[in-house]
Symmetry: C2
DNA sequence: CCGCATCCCTGAGGATACTG
DNA sequence: CAGTATCCTCAGGGATGCGG
């Protein structure tokens, strides 16, 4: 069975814009994806290191998300033939092109959170 | 039970950046959310109009997504006391602040799709 | 160390039917 | 017209255990 690289959420061919948006959304949508990207941003890391840093993720999910990222060309996997085999993951240049989007979303989310909290305290709604 | 406005995907308080990102992601994540926003962009619409334009969505989902959007202050709901009651939905100014993000994601997704397709045809991988 | 296989559970989302 | 209620499905994701 082929792996899904490009999502197919939209049934009718309405609005390419939408399809394109959903492609991006699908990629960023994994529960740990962005955290992994963030952890990989400073430099290459091994599987174990990632699992320790991302804390909370199981090996299954980590491996799965890494595969997805690799399929999409966002990270590079390289096997080192050390004693017990080790594997290094690193962000590709292409992977870094996601940063502006992630940052913008984070920025919007930050001000949104502040906005919501302000509203709540004003209305004394809790 | 209180409605969820701000997501709580991240357990430990690691990285505010991440939390902020996920707030935005949660909002945009509904299957129909962006399509609804897109349909509302040109101007106000009624429930039925939306359901017709978005085609494929059921009334349950539409109503649920609209409520979420309203809770987040992205759209405004106004009841008209016409013969059989009608309701109008419209994007708020705040809701429009999402446009840059949506556009950027769509743009990235578009070039990503092209990139993937190009790779596939090159490798003759299918 | 790096994963894959397996089982299980939860929640998003669809179908359908019903009210004001 | 504008929803709400109910039931059902299915894929995302967690826990655990095994093999190279």
């Amino acid at each position: 069975m082929r792996k899904k690289i490009i999502g197919e959420k939209i049934p009718t061919d309405c609005k390419q814009h939408l399809k394109a948006f959903n492609d991006t959304l699908d990629i960023l949508n994994g529960k740990w994806i962005v955290m992994i990207i963030g952890c990989l941003a400073p430099g290459k890391k091994q599987f174990m290191e990632l699992q320790r840093v991302v804390e909370g993720i199981g090996s299954k999910m980590l491996s799965k998300e890494l595969q997805e990222l690799e399929l999409n060309g966002l990270i590079k996997r390289s096997v080192q033939d050390t004693k017990p085999i080790t594997v290094e993951y690193e962000l590709t240049a292409y992977g870094r092109t996601l940063k502006p989007i992630i940052d913008e979303m984070a920025s919007w989310g930050k001000q949104h959170r502040e906005r919501v909290i302000k509203e709540m305290t004003e209305k004394n709604d809790f």
